[in-house]
């Protein structure tokens, strides 16, 4: 039996009833009196100079109450495009009207004169000198051959920009046109050991280029905010967001408004996956429209707008090379990656290093670039950057295993890092269940005696991720009826409120049902980090623990007074404080203590927890799929999908399984069907007709296997569980397809046409 009675249990979610009955309040349910409907006016071109914006006709339309452009942004921070648009759907203006149809009509009446420019939407095209430049000077923009341009930059800081030395370097640059990349938004370089030496010593070297498409988080609820600016200047924003405090500071920074003049009320979130932190997408326009109209304004995106102007996950192209000995030791790995960051910088280029995986690779070199294209910017999506890099890394591992004739699971086990191994960032590898997790999935899936009929195959892959950490605060009050109430400011993200509630119930030794949780707005609740990066259970779990322990201190103090005995003789259990040595037994309930506390000098039972940072521990997700491919039509059916994960400790195993299933399904979708497609003028599949997300008919039940190797600093040993499960699935699927039909697909998604074409190249006749 578990040493715990509430944590570790599969308990129903605290928000289950409100979700099932529809009582939960989402952003679109907020409707203050007099509310106007906002509509964002968007660019109809993917790349164009803006010659003029004429709002005069729209202003005359009855029912229109406010129209704003960049001229209405007092801080000057870019909210709307002015001189140039960089992607289809980029905001140019916004209107607020008494009715959504009027807002729509007014948006159409705003006349925008464009001078259309050439468009570039492919990273490999964009880095060429022939590509149109998205930012800056057409001749010099874009970092050039990196080492030389770095020297130029350094020199330019010290000497006159016309110096001979700089000119000499610039001349040198011109000689290396094929090494000059243009439209670069950011870069990241990592090197350890000597890859050239490693490849030279390898018996097998595999090199391939992997293409991973841009995908959308496809949360069910599109972005929405309702903003209300009152006559005193106080601003209230009902925001569908993962981080109300981040939105508060974001609005304050963007508009130059004092922080505490803004109250952000987080509404129940219809999914986020990392994509719901944006400030200017809907929140800032809503505030500006409300300030101008003097009325509350709702700005709500359509699904089409989500695809045009959301912040999806970046696509990328990764050129990867791996060398290994014939007895299975990986010696070297080198990656060159171009991440599609869209119109702004910010793609997860740093994640390219995840091609290292959890393996001992003595020689590694990674060069990664963010590349501008005529697309919206990107944002986080469930383990940002990891699924892309791990797709390349884990696909290539299978090719090596195949070439040296080694079982893919054994090959991985053999190369995995172990406790005490030096880690790249310094220090040594902590105890992580890398091997345990891979072995668990292999055992559960029946890998060791796997069978496959014709056109069936098995694939395995692993992916790692480490949860983030951030500041948070929790209060817990114990009431006269013995119940406890939690108050905090963190957005519930698929079960985190439930985990916090379980932790508090565990420590206070009261039934789970007697603990309730309430989220405050930014005016009332203590600061909380955003609900992203798998932080919440780790951070808020630790915070909740501290708060409950603080409450317990007060409880024992009160009991000591009341029962007239030293605290050392007291024990809190089953919702009461017991005198350990008393015969006959003597105890006092939490309710009685709470009632008593009201007339004491020390006052009511209020526990406070405040926490910011402790080192996290990596987590591993390992997955195995069995598929069957129809070689004539290229359609793939998943017969089995098993996912294991080292979760540290499962505070609510049911919720953890939900996370494993959800992440795995999203990874499957990225592998097999999801893809934002771009034509000559921007995104061409902005809706669920041609942007396919899977349904339950596409997959068998994902079998989840929970592995628990505790994290030293996690609450009860828990690690963040949300992100790891998406990381290996892209490669799992590609490896299974390869095993089934002997075709290595390096360009996702693995659509039927790609399989048919690849098989045709292999000589298959349908």
């Amino acid at each position: 039996m578990s040493e715990y009675s509430v944590v570790g249990q599969k308990l129903p979610r605290v928000d289950a009833v409100e979700k099932v009955t529809g009582a939960a309040q989402y952003g679109a349910d907020v409707h203050p009196a007099g509310m106007l409907y906002g509509k964002i006016v968007r660019s109809k071109h993917a790349h164009a100079n803006i010659l003029s914006i004429d709002t005069s006709e729209a202003e005359k339309l009855p029912g229109v109450r406010a129209i704003i452009t960049q001229d209405d942004v007092p801080s000057g921070r870019r909210v709307f495009a002015t001189d140039k648009v960089l992607y289809l759907g980029e905001p140019l203006a916004a209107v607020a009207a008494t009715d959504p149809d009027i807002a729509e009509e007014a948006a159409e009446l705003i006349k925008i004169e464009y001078e259309v420019l050439p468009v570039v939407q492919d990273v490999i095209e964009s880095i060429k000198s022939s590509a149109p430049r998205l930012h800056g000077d057409a001749t010099k923009d874009g970092p050039n051959r990196r080492d030389i341009s770095a020297k130029i930059k350094k020199l330019a800081d010290q000497v006159d920009s016309n110096s001979d030395e700089i000119r000499k370097l610039e001349t040198e640059l011109e000689k290396h046109t094929d090494e000059v990349y243009y439209n670069i938004s950011a870069e990241s370089h990592t090197e350890a050991g000597d890859v050239e030496k490693g490849f030279a010593e390898s018996d097998v070297v595999v090199e391939d280029t992997y293409f991973i498409p841009r995908v959308h988080q496809t949360y069910m609820e599109p972005h929405v905010s309702v903003a209300s600016a009152d006559s005193s200047g106080k601003i209230t924003v009902w925001a569908s967001t993962q981080g109300p405090f981040a939105i508060r500071s974001g609005i304050a920074g963007t508009l130059g408004i004092p922080l505490t003049q803004i109250n952000v009320i987080g509404t129940t979130m219809g999914g986020g996956f990392g994509g719901r932190f944006g400030v200017i997408i809907t929140h800032v326009p809503a505030v500006l429209l409300s300030q101008k109209s003097g009325r509350p304004v709702r700005v709500q995106m359509t699904r089409e707008e989500e695809f045009l102007d959301g912040r999806p996950a970046p696509g990328c192209v990764i050129k990867l090379k791996t060398g290994a000995t014939k007895d299975g030791h990986i010696l070297a790995r080198q990656a060159l990656a171009f991440w599609d960051s869209g119109s702004v910088s910010g793609a997860s280029i740093g994640s390219t290093i995840r091609v290292r995986g959890v393996y001992k690779i003595p020689n590694i070199k990674v060069d990664a670039y963010g590349v501008h294209t005529n697309k919206s910017g990107t944002a986080a999506y469930r383990a940002p950057g990891a699924p892309q890099a791990i797709f390349a890394g884990e696909s290539q591992l299978d090719d090596i295993a195949e070439q040296i004739g080694m079982d893919p699971v054994k090959f991985r086990l053999m190369n995995m890092r172990e406790e005490g191994d030096a880690v790249p960032a310094g220090g040594s590898e902590p105890k992580v269940g890398y091997k345990e997790t891979l072995e668990a999935v292999a055992d559960a899936a029946g890998w060791w005696d796997r069978e496959a009929d014709e056109n069936q195959g098995w694939g395995v892959a692993v992916g790692d991720w480490t949860n983030g950490c951030g500041p948070g605060g929790v209060y817990v009050s114990v009431h006269e009826d013995g119940s406890a109430r939690i108050f905090h400011g963190s957005m519930d993200i698929t079960g985190t409120d439930t985990a916090i509630t379980q932790i508090i119930a565990e420590i206070l030794t009261i039934p789970y049902e007697n603990v309730t949780i309430r989220r405050g707005d930014t005016d009332s609740a203590p600061y909380s980090t955003g609900s992203g990066g798998s932080v919440v259970t780790f951070t808020m779990g630790n915070t909740a623990k501290l708060a409950a322990e603080d409450a317990r201190r007060r409880i024992l103090e009160l009991a000591s007074e009341r029962l007239n005995t030293n605290e050392d003789n007291l024990e809190l259990r089953d919702g009461a404080v017991h005198v350990i040595t008393a015969d006959p037994p003597k105890s006092i309930s939490l309710g009685e203590l709470a009632a008593y506390s009201l007339s004491t000098t020390g006052g009511p039972i209020v526990g406070k927890g405040s926490f910011a940072r402790q080192p996290s521990t990596p987590a591993l997700a390992a997955q195995i799929a069995k598929v069957e491919v129809d070689p004539d039509t290229g359609r793939t059916r998943v017969l089995k999908l098993v996912a294991s994960q080292d979760v540290g400790f499962a505070i609510n195993p049911m919720a953890v399984e939900g996370q494993i299933e959800g992440g795995t399904v999203q990874g499957y979708a990225w592998a097999m069907m999801e893809e934002m497609q771009y034509g000559e003028n921007g995104n061409i599949n902005p809706g669920f007709v041609d942007y396919r997300v899977p349904t339950s008919a596409d997959l068998p039940t994902v079998e989840s296997v929970i592995v628990e190797v505790p994290a030293p600093n996690g609450p009860y040993g828990a690690k963040g569980v949300g992100e790891p499960p998406i990381t290996p699935t892209l490669a799992t699927m590609a490896n299974a397809v390869n095993d089934a039909i002997g075709v290595r697909i390096t360009e996702l998604p693995i659509k039927p046409e790609k399989i048919v074409d690849a098989l045709k190249n292999n000589g298959h006749e349908a």
């Binding site: 729509e104 039509t633 359609r635 599949n685 039927p752 046409e753 349908a766």
Partner: protein
Amino acid sequence: MKNFEYFEPTTLAEASHLFAQGHAQLLAGGTDLVIGMKAYTETPQSVISLQKIPDLDGITTDSDNGITIGAMTKVREVELSEDVQEHHTALAEGASEIGSIQIRNLATIGGNIAHASPAADTVAGLLVADAQVSIASAEGERTVPINELFTGPGQTVLKPGEIITQFHLPSPASGSHYIKHKIREVMDLAFIGVASAVNLQNGVIKDARIGLAAVAPTPIRATEAENLLKGKGPTPELLQQAGEAAAAATSPISDLRCSAEHRKEMVDVLTRRTLRYALDRATR
């Protein structure tokens, strides 16, 4: 959604009269129209519901297993009809491929056809059933064979005021089958759709019909492939030839779903495959 005037006529004549006045759309199940109106791609000034007009729905079977399907019959009813499943399997299978069950409980077969999408899932099944389409207007009634109904994407021979009232499927083939090429298992649009129907007599193909969707501006019959099959015993070589002939009859486009070449290849593969299933059913 733009404002519009809404009518609920109770007779076909009244509906036809309203419809003939232009800027009007007929409302059957609404699963295409209402979505279009919400997206402002359809902005009719008047919407004419066909719900209150009696006798436009239902499936009836006559003595020689010919079937009549009212235009307002829900797609779900077509899918679940035992008579349709038995005698026009390809049509029932096509109906089962549309949207979700919720959508199929709203959508009508008449709407699926009148919308004239080249990718409509019931169209290949109706093509191989040789369906006769009854059309009514204030001027009277006429009948058009299904393969003459379509003139282009979203375009039909229907004149202003004309309303599809029913589909008559004459005596059935002994076996038929429909396959939709898609990515997602359910709720996907057809990359292509192929239906085949055969009549076997003493091991010889007496009659064969092949209907193809989403491979040309309109749904088409692959008549050359059909003619190749007639009078012959089914062999793998013959099916191969039929597949190739069917592919040759197409003029697909490349779009965001797949390339024209892939569509052609899949017509070949799925023509053979649907023929095999149809022949198998015919011999059972």
